[in-house]
């Protein structure tokens, strides 16, 4: 069975994020996106619009000093949603880190991400690394 196009879209997004390729991310994320950054850390909250969302990505790069990666375990999709199951790594210059199973959910319309939610298997650990 051919892969759903939304799977390809999400895989391109993670590759672009990993490479710091903001041009591709701008192409894949809707101007009026709502990005729910999960947990209870200084980076948590709802980011509205592409500008705020790219700003959030910048903050993640800043606080981790670039020591951040997502290893995709699986990507599933239908016409409305894509779901990424992944191993998230966040490192901090002071030695704190988070390695855990996360689930990212994307709402996709007209080939662009319009809403995003992140879930962590151990949210408290993720919050502690980002505090």
């Amino acid at each position: 069975m051919a892969e759903h196009p939304n799977i390809e879209l999400v895989r391109r997004g993670y590759a672009a994020f990993g490479a710091g390729d903001m041009d591709t991310l701008k192409e894949l994320i809707a101007a009026d996106v709502v990005w729910h950054s999960g947990g209870h850390s200084p980076l948590s909250g709802d980011y509205k619009g592409l500008g705020e969302t790219l700003g959030l990505f910048g903050r993640f790069f800043e606080v981790t000093g670039g020591d951040m990666s997502q290893e995709l375990h699986a990507v599933l999709a239908d016409d409305e949603h894509a779901v990424a199951l992944l191993r998230q790594h966040l490192g901090r210059p002071d030695g704190r880190s988070y390695d855990g199973n996360d689930v990212h959910v994307f709402h996709i319309r007209d080939g662009k991400v319009t809403e995003f939610w992140a879930f962590s298997e151990d949210e408290a650990a993720s919050d502690a690394a980002l505090a």
Partner: protein, 131 residues
């Protein structure tokens, strides 16, 4: 709604659990099921085998804790995974809480073989469960 046979198996099991149909829910679990119960409450942890998983549910019910979903928003599936996007509601000695959740499941031999839940408001859920 996804039409993948694994999605149908997962939905049948989840819906049985939600309406309190113990017999159908029990039949939907693989004998070697591994149940990852999230959070940091008294029922959190990893439960290996059908007896351990069912024992946990029984204890939870006896403690007056009820967990169910109020909206099954979407189910995406492939041959390896099923992911359900849903709204979960928890009631217990600490009151009640609800919020978005994802359930990730492995299906083997037509049964639920492994289960993870991730809740956006896990800290609130923990407070409700532990009261």
């Amino acid at each position: 709604m996804a039409e993948h046979p694994n999605a149908q198996i997962a939905c049948a099991g989840m819906e049985a659990f939600n309406r309190g149909d113990q017999e159908t829910f029990t039949a939907s679990l693989h004998d070697d099921v591994v149940w990852h119960a999230p959070g940091k409450n008294r029922f959190s942890g990893e439960f290996r085998g059908k007896a351990a998983a069912l024992g946990r549910f029984k204890e939870q019910m006896e403690a007056g804790v009820n967990i169910g979903f109020t909206d099954l928003h979407d189910v995406v599936a492939n041959d390896d995974h099923v992911v359900a996007l849903l709204q979960v509601r928890v009631t217990g000695s600490g009151g009640e809480a609800s919020g978005p959740s994802v359930f990730v499941m492995h299906i083997r031999d037509g049964k639920m073989a492994e289960f993870w839940a991730m809740n956006e408001h896990q800290d609130a859920f923990d407070k409700v469960v532990d009261g």
